[in-house]
C-alpha cells in the first residue's frame, strides 16, 4: 500500500520524493475544490514531478453547472496535458468528457459520495473497464465492507487515511456576505482568488467549531475532527488498498508526512506523540461500524401504518360510550353486524371486538358498508383515534 497526498509547492514535492512516494495529486485553482495553484505553478510542479520520477495526478473534483463546465473545458483543452497520464474526477460530466475525448488518459474516479454498495461500484468499474485506473471509496464504509468490496473489484482502490472530513459543499457564497462591505476580500480584484476561512458553531448541535471555507467554487463545511486511520494500520494494511490518502492542506506542517510515513510503514507503532502534536482532534469515523440507519425506526410510528389485505380502515372519531367512526379503505372487505374486527392502537395494543351495530352518518342502520367512505359502529373501550382496523 502506498501513501498519496496533495502537494502545493516544490518543497512538498521533494519531501514526497525523499519519502518514496510514487504519485502526488496536484490541485489547480480552477479545477479543484481547494486548489491553490495557478496554471503556471500547476504545470511547473507537474513537470518537476515528472522530472524527479513522481507521477503527477490532475485533480478535477469540482461539480459544474453547464455554463461553468463549458468554460472549464476550454481551459482544460488549453493546458499541456502531456504532463499527466491520470485525471482524477468526481463530476460524472468530467468523467464522460475525459472518457470520450481523451482515450490516452487513465481515470481515477472519486466515488466518495454515495456508492456504498458493491453493485454500484462494480457497474462503474465494468463500464469504464481498463480506462479506470483507480476508484476512491467513501469513508462511510466500514472496514469489513471495504475489504469485501476490494476483493470483488478488478481495480485499484484508495481511501482517505488522514484529513478533513467534508460535510457540506454548496456553490453559493455563504461567508463573504457576512464580511463588512469594506473588507479587502470583497474587492472585485481579490474576490475570485479569495480563500475565506472561519469556524461555525450552533447551539442546536453538540459539536462546536466546524471549519468553513469559501472560495471561488463555493462554500465547504468540515467536521470538527479529522478522519484518522493511522491507529488501525493492521486493519488498513489488510484491506488490500493500493493507496492511502493523507491530506495535509489547510495550513498544516507538511513535514508531518515524515512521521506519517513511519507510522504507515510500521517504523513507529506508538502514535501518542503524533496525535498529541497534530493540530486537530481526530476520529476514525465509520471505519469500524456504520449504524447511521438504526434511528430511522424511531422517526415514525409503524403501528399506525396499514399492513395487509385484511385492512379495513382507520378510526377517525371516538364518541365515548356511543360509537366509533371508521374511515374505510377503498378496497375494504364489506363490514356487517356480527363481523369481528381487530383494532391496532398507536401504542401497538390490539383489541378484538364484534360489530354490534352499523350505521351511516345519518345514524340509520345499514346492512353493510359497501359504497361508504365512513361508517359508525358500536363503541369499543380502549380504541383510540388513529387505531388501524382489520377484519378477522
Amino acid at each position: 500500500m502506498n501513501l498519496i497526498t496533495f502537494v502545493e509547492n516544490k518543497h512538498e514535492l521533494y519531501l514526497c520524493k525523499e519519502l518514496g512516494l510514487s504519485e502526488v495529486i496536484l490541485s489547480h485553482k480552477d479545477f479543484s475544490r481547494f486548489g491553490k495553484l495557478d496554471t503556471k505553478m500547476f504545470l511547473e510542479l507537474a513537470a518537476e514531478a515528472k522530472a524527479i520520477g513522481i507521477e503527477p495526478i490532475f485533480e478535477w473534483d469540482i461539480l459544474m453547472v453547464e455554463k461553468d463546465f463549458t468554460k472549464i473545458k476550454a481551459l482544460f483543452e488549453s493546458l499541456d496535458l502531456t504532463l499527466f497520464n491520470k485525471i482524477r474526477v468526481q463530476d460524472p460530466g468530467a468523467l464522460n468528457y475525459i472518457f470520450v475525448n481523451y482515450p490516452d488518459k487513465k481515470i481515477e474516479l472519486n466515488l466518495e459520495v454515495g456508492n456504498h454498495n458493491l453493485v454500484a461500484i462494480k457497474t462503474w468499474v465494468s463500464f469504464f473497464k481498463e480506462r479506470l485506473s483507480k476508484v476512491i471509496l467513501s469513508i462511510e464504509l466500514p472496514h469489513a465492507t471495504l475489504s469485501h468490496f476490494i476483493e470483488n473489484i478488478p481495480c485499484d482502490v484508495e481511501i482517505l487515511g488522514l484529513g478533513r472530513i467534508l460535510l457540506f459543499y454548496t456553490p453559493r457564497n455563504l461567508l463573504s456576505n457576512l464580511l463588512p462591505e469594506d473588507d479587502d476580500l470583497k474587492k472585485k480584484e481579490l474576490f475570485d482568488s479569495r480563500f475565506i476561512e472561519a469556524s461555525g458553531e450552533s447551539e442546536e448541535s453538540p459539536h462546536k467549531g466546524f471549519p468553513i471555507v469559501e472560495n471561488k467554487h463555493g462554500t465547504f463545511m468540515f467536521h470538527i475532527k479529522e478522519h484518522y486511520l493511522l491507529d488501525h494500520m493492521e486493519e488498513v494494511n489488510n484491506l488490500g488498498l493500493k493507496d492511502l490518502r493523507v491530506d495535509l492542506r489547510f495550513g498544516k506542517d507538511f513535514n508531518l508526512l515524515k512521521e506519517i510515513k513511519n507510522i504507515v510503514s510500521g517504523h513507529i507503532t506508538d502514535t501518542k506523540a503524533f496525535k498529541g502534536n497534530y493540530p486537530s482532534d481526530l476520529i476514525r469515523g465509520f471505519f469500524h461500524v456504520n449504524k447511521t440507519d438504526v434511528l430511522f425506526k424511531k422517526l415514525k410510528n409503524s403501528r399506525i401504518a396499514r399492513h395487509d389485505e385484511n385492512y379495513i380502515g382507520e378510526i377517525i372519531d371516538v364518541n365515548k360510550g356511543e360509537f366509533l367512526g371508521i374511515y374505510l379503505s377503498e378496497k375494504h372487505k364489506a363490514l356487517e353486524v356480527g363481523s369481528k374486527l381487530k383494532f391496532t392502537g398507536p401504542q401497538g395494543k390490539d383489541i378484538e371486538a364484534p360489530i354490534k351495530f352499523l350505521k351511516d352518518l345519518s345514524q340509520n342502520d345499514i346492512e353493510n358498508s359497501m359504497g361508504k367512505n365512513l361508517v359508525l359502529i358500536n363503541y369499543v373501550s380502549g380504541v383510540w383515534v388513529k387505531s388501524q382496523v382489520y377484519s378477522l
Binding site: N117, L166, N173, G200, H223, L295, F296, H307, Y327, K331
Partner: protein, 401 residues
C-alpha cells in the same frame, strides 16, 4: 386551445390521502415513497396496499405515479430491493426515481420500469446527462443549481427528458453532497435521516478582530418559479416538480392547483400576460413557506437566496382546517379536522377548480349530531357548505385568526 408544449405538473404525495388531493387538484403525476429506499424516513410513506390503491387511483384518472428509490443504498439495503422492484413492476408504476447506480442496475435487472435520475445525483451538465443516458436513465431530475436555460441545453444536447424543480424547500448543498447529519446526529442524510442542520443558527468566527456573527447562513429560501414558468416552456422542460412530500394536504393541493391552472392558461393563450399571475402568486403566498427565491433558475443563486431567519412572516398564510372525507348531502359534508376552529369562524373551501369560497362555520355537528362550539384536531365533524363540495377538497382559514 393552442398546441404549445406544456410540461407535466409533478406533485409530492407523502401519503395516500395526499396523492388523492394532489391528483384531484390537477397534478399530472405524483411521486411517492414506499416504506424503504426513499429519503423521507419520517414521512408516512406508502405500504404495499396503499401503493396499489394509489396507482389504481392515479391511473384511473390518467395520471402517472413515480416511486422514489433515491437513497444511496448500502449493501444490506440493496439486498432487499429486488422483490420491491418486482412488486412495483407488477403495479405498472410509470417510473422510479433513483440516484444510486447500484439501484439503477437492480431496477434494470428485475423490471422494465423506466428510471429517472434523482436530483440527489446532482446531474449538472450535458456530459453528465449523456453518461447517465448511457447508464439507462430516461429522464434527468436536474440539480437545483442549474438554470432553466442550462436544463434546456441538457435536453437538447443529451437527448433526454428533463424534470426540474419549480417550487419548494431547497437543499443549500449540492444534493447528495451533505453528510452533516451522518456525523453529528448519527443519521444518514442520504438514506432518509436528514436532520436539517442547515436550518440551524450558527455563530461564525472569522478568527480575526471581527465580531462573531450569528446567522442562519446555510439556510436557503424556498424556490418559487411561478414568475419564470414561461422559461420552462420555452426550453422544453418536460416536467415541473413541486418539492414537499412531508408537507400538508393544503400544500399538495394548492401547489398542484396553481401550477396546473397557470400552465392551462398558457396552453390556451400562449402567454402569461394577465393579472392572473398576481392571483397565482398570492395563492402560493398563502401556504406556509420560507421567503421565496428564484434561486438559480435564471442566474446563479446569490446572497438574496439565503434565508437568514428562523421563521417566516406568516401573517398572510392560511392553515388547513380539514379535508372533505364524506358527502352527506349536496351541501353537507364530513370534515376530517386538522386544525381546530370555532363556531362562526370564517373558513374557505378550496375547490379543485376555480376560486375559493368563503363562508362562516355557523353550525358544527359531531357525528352524533351534537352541536359543537369548537372543533379539535384529529376529529371529524359535520359542516354545511355554501356550495357542493367534492371528496378530498380542502378547507382552510387564515393562520392569524
Amino acid at each position: 386551445m393552442t398546441n404549445y408544449f406544456i410540461p407535466e405538473v409533478l406533485s409530492p404525495a407523502g401519503s395516500l390521502d395526499k396523492l388523492k388531493v394532489a391528483i384531484n387538484y390537477g397534478a399530472d403525476a405524483v411521486y411517492l415513497g414506499g416504506q424503504q429506499f426513499g429519503l423521507r424516513a419520517a414521512s408516512d410513506n406508502f405500504t404495499y396496499e396503499e401503493l396499489e390503491e394509489g396507482v389504481l387511483f392515479a391511473h384511473g384518472k390518467g395520471r402517472k405515479v413515480y416511486v422514489v428509490l433515491n437513497s444511496f443504498l448500502h449493501d444490506k439495503d440493496i439486498e432487499a430491493l429486488p422483490p420491491f422492484v418486482e412488486y412495483l413492476d407488477s403495479l405498472s408504476v410509470d417510473a422510479v426515481i433513483v440516484s444510486d447506480l447500484g439501484v439503477i442496475e437492480t431496477v434494470h435487472k428485475y423490471s422494465k420500469i423506466p428510471v429517472h435520475l434523482s436530483t440527489q445525483a446532482s446531474c449538472l451538465n450535458v456530459e453528465a446527462a449523456k453518461l447517465w443516458k448511457k447508464m439507462g436513465v430516461t429522464r434527468i431530475v436536474t440539480g437545483r443549481e442549474l438554470s432553466i436555460e442550462e436544463a434546456g441545453k441538457l435536453k437538447k444536447e443529451a437527448g433526454i427528458e428533463i424534470e426540474m424543480f419549480v417550487h419548494g424547500s431547497m437543499c443549500m448543498a449540492y444534493s447528495g453532497n451533505c453528510v452533516i447529519s451522518n456525523y453529528t446526529q448519527g443519521r444518514d442524510s442520504n438514506r432518509g435521516g436528514c436532520a436539517h442542520s442547515c436550518r440551524f443558527q450558527y455563530s461564525i468566527d472569522f478568527k480575526n478582530d471581527l465580531e462573531k456573527k450569528k446567522a442562519y447562513f446555510m439556510s436557503s429560501k424556498d424556490l418559487n418559479g411561478i414568475r419564470v414558468l414561461e422559461e420552462y416552456i420555452k426550453h422544453g422542460i418536460d416536467s415541473i416538480k413541486i418539492e414537499g412530500r412531508m408537507k400538508s394536504h393544503l400544500y399538495a393541493g394548492t401547489m398542484s392547483k396553481i401550477y396546473k391552472e397557470a400552465l392551462d392558461y398558457y396552453k390556451e393563450h400562449g402567454n402569461f400576460l394577465s393579472d392572473k399571475i398576481l392571483e397565482w402568486e398570492e395563492e402560493l403566498g398563502k401556504v406556509t413557506h420560507r421567503a421565496y427565491t428564484e434561486a438559480s433558475l435564471i442566474d446563479k443563486a446569490g446572497e438574496d437566496s439565503i434565508f437568514d431567519e428562523r421563521e417566516t412572516d406568516s401573517s398572510n398564510e392560511f392553515v388547513m382546517v380539514g379535508r372533505v372525507i364524506e358527502k352527506i348531502s349536496e351541501e353537507e359534508i364530513v370534515l376530517e379536522v386538522r386544525n381546530a376552529f370555532n363556531k362562526n369562524d370564517e373558513l374557505e373551501l378550496v375547490p379543485f377548480v376555480g376560486p375559493s369560497v368563503s363562508f362562516k362555520a355557523d353550525k358544527i355537528l359531531d357525528l352524533g349530531n351534537m352541536e359543537l362550539e369548537r372543533t379539535k384536531p384529529s376529529t371529524v365533524v359535520k359542516l354545511k357548505l355554501p356550495k357542493e363540495a367534492n371528496l378530498h377538497e380542502i378547507l382552510r382559514m387564515r393562520a392569524s385568526l
